[in-house]
């Protein structure tokens, strides 16, 4: 009983964070909860759903890229595993959505575990390029294979009305609360993770591998487990993508751009902070959706990505800790 209580406290408590962060989080939750009732345009709601989706992706990537300090440029492969597991099981065997989520996560985690073993013999740039290569090989395989639908992709049967078994809805409001639920699940999981023993080990390894090893932490094992969990978390968002877009192909759910965008939301927001992915997604996704749509209408292809790239370069050169790093610095100056 005591342990359960402690676990619940670990999951839901932010007592270790300053008060202004807790208030900020409450305001954020309130805004997200009432959002679909405030904004009635379909586009605005779609932007919100995409924001929550990428905040969810970012939370998963933050485990490996932020807390773990390992630059993973292949998170899209896990998204793809989740999306394909859900889509194929629904198309082949009509399995309810919530059951397909589990194999998606298990497959992504198992694959991450297997490739992590050789991959964590590498560090830094070599590791980053290796993750990129693995993700691209999977994408080529999914295009090559016939049983996954190949380059044609998979189309989900369309159901009318509100279907909580297959999680297909005729109104974006349902999708909004659906993705919000998944997001909060992942958010509280990460909140637990960062305070767990493994979470502290992962952060110790990031800060100084030799010091961590000298304290008795198995550096290699810590990295592998961390990468496995991050892989599993990536698949959850993939499953959502399958039932939200109702059509998936390798170019939609496992491209390199997706891996980069996921990593970038965290980098821009602030890697290694639980708020980082949310801040990053809140900036990049509306920018992408509104700017991209506006420029696309003007037939100016590419400007949105050029602005992305500029943000990326400026952040890399001036503020590697992202926007959260700036906020922290300003606050420290004030309290001093």
């Amino acid at each position: 009983m005591v342990r359960l209580r402690q676990l619940l406290i670990d999951i839901f408590s932010f007592r270790d964070r300053p008060r202004f962060e807790r208030i900020g989080f409450l305001i954020f939750i309130l805004i997200v909860l009432i959002f679909p009732w405030m904004v009635t345009s379909a586009y605005g709601r779609a932007v919100m759903i995409k924001f929550l989706l990428f905040a969810l992706f970012g939370l998963g990537w933050n485990l490996i890229g932020g807390y773990g300090g390992q630059v993973d440029l292949g998170q899209a492969k896990n998204v793809g595993f989740g999306a394909y597991a859900t889509a194929l099981m629904i198309v082949w065997w009509k399995v309810p959505f919530w059951i397909t989520v589990i194999p998606g996560i298990v497959i992504a985690a198992a694959e991450s575990f297997v490739v992590a073993y050789p991959m964590f013999r590498l560090k830094g740039h070599y590791f980053a390029i290796a993750t990129l290569c693995v993700a691209l090989v999977w994408k080529e395989l999914f295009i090559f294979w016939d049983w996954t639908g190949g380059a044609r992709g998979v189309e989900l049967p369309i159901r009318s009305g509100v279907d909580f078994v297959y999680m297909q809805f005729n109104s974006p409001i349902y999708y909004h609360y659906f993705i919000l639920f998944l997001f909060l699940m992942q958010f509280f999981f990460v909140n637990w993770f960062r305070k767990s023993k493994l979470g502290y080990e992962v952060q110790a390894v990031r800060d100084n591998e030799d010091a961590a090893a000298s304290l008795g932490i198995n550096v290699y094992r810590t990295k592998v487990i961390n990468y496995t969990i991050a892989g599993g978390l990536g698949a959850l968002g993939g499953s959502f993508m399958a039932v939200y877009y109702l059509y998936i192909d390798p170019d939609a759910v496992m491209p390199l751009d997706l891996s980069i965008l996921i990593a970038m939301t965290v980098m821009v927001g602030g890697a290694g902070s639980i708020w980082g992915p949310i801040i990053g997604a809140a900036i990049l996704i509306p920018l992408d959706m509104y700017l991209g749509a506006w420029l696309g209408a003007q037939k100016r292809l590419g400007i949105d990505f050029m602005i992305y790239a500029m943000i990326m370069m400026v952040i890399a050169a001036k503020e590697p800790k992202g926007i959260w790093g700036i906020i922290e610095r300003v606050r420290k100056k004030r309290t001093r």
Binding site: A130, I311, A317
Partner: protein, 285 residues
């Protein structure tokens, strides 16, 4: 038999181009320990210069080679001064994202200017011609490109191992702090490495444009091929890049003959296996 010889000849010719592409990456990594994700985009710039000069001016694409190399040199130096110099001392994550940002910027700049259309060079002395040697038929442009690649490679090799400037580069790559105390302008050396890297890869791009289509997104693929080549040859090793380039060319052409959809997967697999099982590559130290 004929097929085998044909494939090997093609593989070696492609491999020499890959070697020249990988040279700059290896050099930059050797001098300042930074991986340039925008490398393939530098190559794309060379390809577009060859395309533009040969399409809109009455110039043969061969004459565009020096322009491409010059533009590549400038691009390399400017990127170093404006971006790389600032991220060099930052954490590795920042370095990675810095060059990644550069890559995206160049790619989508090209997308903006040239639209995503696939283009190719249609006119030129060598375009579309084939050489027949016995029963082997080879594209004239490929033979010529391979020849230029060997020459460029020899020139860079000579510069690095036989001139004073090259000694400075090598000193910077071994220990940049110590080199600075010995009066070597290490910042200038870094910029020079980026310049040479940009020039060689843009030259390779201008050559490649003779027989490969030009699109804004062509770079990523060649960046990855260059990573695989450099990993196989050993990061920082110039001779290694040369031999590894030929090997990668052979792997790609031969695997492409049998499972063409997966020919790039083979290259990624080579990178993966090499860095995991022999991280210093064939000739690294």
């Amino acid at each position: 038999m004929e097929l085998a010889v044909q494939l090997i000849v093609y593989g070696i010719l492609m491999g020499l181009v890959f070697a020249l592409i990988a040279l700059g990456l290896s050099l930059i990594f050797g001098v300042m320990n930074i991986v340039n994700f925008a490398h393939g985009e530098f190559m794309m710039v060379g390809m577009y210069i060859a395309y533009l000069l040969s399409t809109f001016l009455p110039l043969d694409p061969l004459l565009s080679l020096p322009f491409a190399a010059g533009a590549g040199y400038l691009l390399g130096v400017v990127s170093y001064r404006l971006l790389i110099h600032h991220i060099l001392r930052g954490p590795m994550v920042a370095q990675l994202f810095g060059t990644f940002g550069l890559m995206l910027f160049l790619r989508y700049l090209a997308m903006y200017i040239f639209t995503p259309d696939v283009r190719s060079i249609k006119q030129g002395i060598l375009v579309g011609k084939t050489l027949s040697m016995g029963w082997i038929n080879v594209d004239a442009s490929k033979v010529f490109s391979a020849g230029v690649c060997v020459l460029a490679f020899a020139a860079v090799y000579w510069m690095i191992y036989r001139t004073k400037l090259g000694r400075g580069l090598r000193a910077t790559s071994i220990d940049s702090e110590a080199a600075k105390y010995m009066g070597i302008d290490t910042k200038g050396m870094n910029a020079l490495a980026w310049g040479i890297g940009g020039a060689t890869v843009a030259l390779a791009g201008a050559l490649l444009a003779h027989f490969y289509y030009v699109t804004p997104t062509v770079g990523m693929l060649f960046t990855l091929i260059a990573f695989a080549t450099v990993a196989l040859g050993g990061f920082g090793s110039i001779v290694g890049a040369f031999i590894a380039g030929i090997l990668i060319g052979l792997i790609m052409v031969i695997s492409g003959q049998f499972v063409s959809e997966l020919k790039f997967s083979f290259i990624y697999a080579v990178y993966f296996l090499v860095v995991v099982f022999r991280p210093r590559g064939l000739f690294g130290w």
